[in-house]
Symmetry: C2
């Protein structure tokens, strides 16, 4: 991790609109990245923006992606110097008395950096473990680890974060003063990505039950 | 809406990797767009990809965005011919016996199109209603509608969808044949964006209670 814990504000990462919701410290940004199960990766192909969702993991100041070698996302991400990776968590609907002030509670992190192909075997293993653990903590100890053949048929890409920011909204609606006298319900409807009971694989070996990190899963 | 119900497959929207998961018909793509509370908009600034989450609404083959006139997203979206709008719904963790075959169940829609500023007052009203209803169906009938001043201080952008595709994964893990004999739990952990009880605004007028479209909210 870098020496300072805050990204320098520049034209790229500056939160312009509602600037008081902007954050530039790793202590705010990285927990959002880590809680998000997926990220949206933005890259440019022939002047065209392309945004693809994918699983990620963060290790220090690096975001790791992986997938099939044929993936357009990974092919372009591995060589792009101008990637954007965005993680968004929805925390609730903010239902104001007015349409105009209605909003959402959310936490989003927008990261900028260059992609590079991960060719070092040890770093590839680190990615495999980091992504497995990112999805379900403790899973790496339980799974059948990747074979050499599987590792060779997986492409690993690292995106070293150069700059980033987060934007966070919390709390109740902010209505116009005169609207508080209106007999309209207002408030927040909390939302969370919530697991329900695990569904056993149809071919699960008899007697095998879901481990606690699955049955009591939470982000 | 266009005459055919399927987008032509081209280099932009073609699902390359695991092509059998790709869909090009509006009947698959649009329900994903409509269920997603937010989208991730990708645009290009000085060769740099930028991905920003925002609330949207779909009307026929058009995605509408709105926000403050100062927003970089809206400024660039209104003039970009090469936007990408991606909506992603997470349905579950796919926990295979092997790290390699672990995955997620998801539905994602990737839309491509040009942005244009919405200047027509009637279309602006349509956007205001569509976005309010997109977030919480029935809300438009309850809220204090926007004033002329509020409408003038809101920027509305339309993105007419030129091409699109969806990618969908469902069902249990697909492990290697020999791995089914391993005593490792495998299956799906279903996930859904779930509301909990509405939180009344601290300044809510006495006697006002949450309407059914909030207290029984579901996507």
């Amino acid at each position: 991790m870098s020496e300072t814990n805050t990204f320098t504000i520049n034209d790229l990462n500056r939160v312009r609109r509602l600037a008081y919701r902007g954050h530039y410290d790793r202590a705010t940004i990285y927990p959002i990245v880590d809680e998000a199960l997926i990220c949206h990766v933005g890259f440019v192909q022939d002047g065209q923006a392309i945004v693809i969702p994918t699983i990620h993991a963060r290790v220090d100041d690096t975001i790791y992606l992986h997938g099939a070698p044929a993936s357009r996302l990974l092919k372009l991400a591995a060589t792009s110097e101008k990637l954007c990776i965005t993680c968004t968590l929805l925390d609730g609907l903010v239902l104001a008395r007015s349409a105009f002030h209605s909003s959402m509670n959310y936490r989003s992190a927008v990261l900028f950096g260059s992609g590079r192909l991960v060719t070092d075997y040890d770093e590839q293993w680190l990615v495999m473990e980091a992504i497995t653990e990112h999805v379900a903590q403790g899973r790496w100890a339980d799974v059948r680890r990747a074979t050499d053949k599987e590792m060779q048929s997986t492409k690993f890409v690292a995106v070293d974060i150069e700059t980033a920011s987060a934007k966070v909204r919390t709390g109740p609606p902010g209505d116009d003063e005169e609207d508080y006298a209106l007999p309209i319900w207002a408030g927040v409807l909390p939302l969370a990505l919530t697991p329900s009971a695990p569904i056993d694989d149809p071919r699960l070996m008899t007697g095998v039950t879901a481990p606690k990190n699955v049955s009591e899963y939470r982000r």
